[in-house]
């Protein structure tokens, strides 16, 4: 393997690791029936996006974007890009808000359905639907 290919792999390894993490989260969301596990998967997915953004802001040889207290910025010092950090700070806080809302919804679902498994919720729904159909058929039969 020549050095160009190796550089390419090393330079892009971060993206591939984040994709691996993101797909782990996606798999949990799709494959698991437990609602709490779905939220955990969504959080893992979200974290991978955060890490992708932060890695885009990195500059080789750069340091954290904090200036000296006297604000005399040395032009030779390289700072990493602060903009992705700001965007992700906002995203983290919004993410925890959506997570807490999702968990509150799970608590309510558990209260109504006495389960947090997707299949069992579907069973309850089907049973309710069937009994409603039966009741309406009975009512129609009585009227005719």
């Amino acid at each position: 393997m020549d050095s160009g290919t190796l550089d390419f792999i090393v330079g892009h390894l971060n993206y591939w690791l984040f994709i691996l993490l993101m797909m782990t989260g996606l798999y949990i969301v799709v494959a698991k029936g437990n609602l709490v596990k779905k939220i955990v998967g969504l959080n893992i997915f979200q974290t991978s996006v955060f890490m992708l953004y932060i890695s885009i802001g990195k500059v080789t040889g750069g340091t954290a974007p904090i200036f000296p207290l006297d604000m005399k910025v040395d032009p030779d010092v390289v700072y990493s890009n602060p903009l992705p950090h700001v965007l992700i700070l906002t995203a983290i806080v919004v993410g925890i808000a959506t997570t807490s809302l999702g968990l509150a919804l799970i608590i309510r679902i558990r209260e109504e359905y006495h389960t947090i498994e997707e299949d069992q919720i579907a069973e309850v729904e089907n049973a309710v639907l069937k009994s409603e159909q039966w009741a309406s058929e009975q009512a129609a039969g009585e009227h005719s």
Binding site: M22, N34, G57, P65, S80, P84, L105, D119
Partner: protein, 143 residues
Amino acid sequence: MDAVDVAFTEAAVGAGISTVLMLGTLALTARSERSSSRSSFVPLLAVLVTGAALVYGTLDMPSFGQSDAPAQTHVGPDYLERIPHEVGVPNAVTAILASYRGYDTLGETAVVFAAGIGVLMLISGLRTRRRKEEDDPDTGGSA
């Protein structure tokens, strides 16, 4: 990756608050998971296809830490140049968050406020409903 502010926030929020929320939810709901009978082949296939498409998409991305990447040549350095004499706050992330993107942060707090109200409306009265259910299991139960 030089993101000290994000590291602190993620440590406090991601490791602290979300763990507490998860454990609280688990305490209020079920502790064990019922084993699912569904096959995991279709989700695995979907995930692999999506992952392959994403990896294909990264082939055009700039390398990690590349200083002439598009993200490093437009707005980012402009902020770093302006902040020392326009805002005067040593931490560039704080300066952007509170000054240049102040309305964004205001909107963010609005989102958190709305989510807090939503959570309160969803789970308020949980204890009274539960007590009613225990006293009178016939009428207080589920619909």
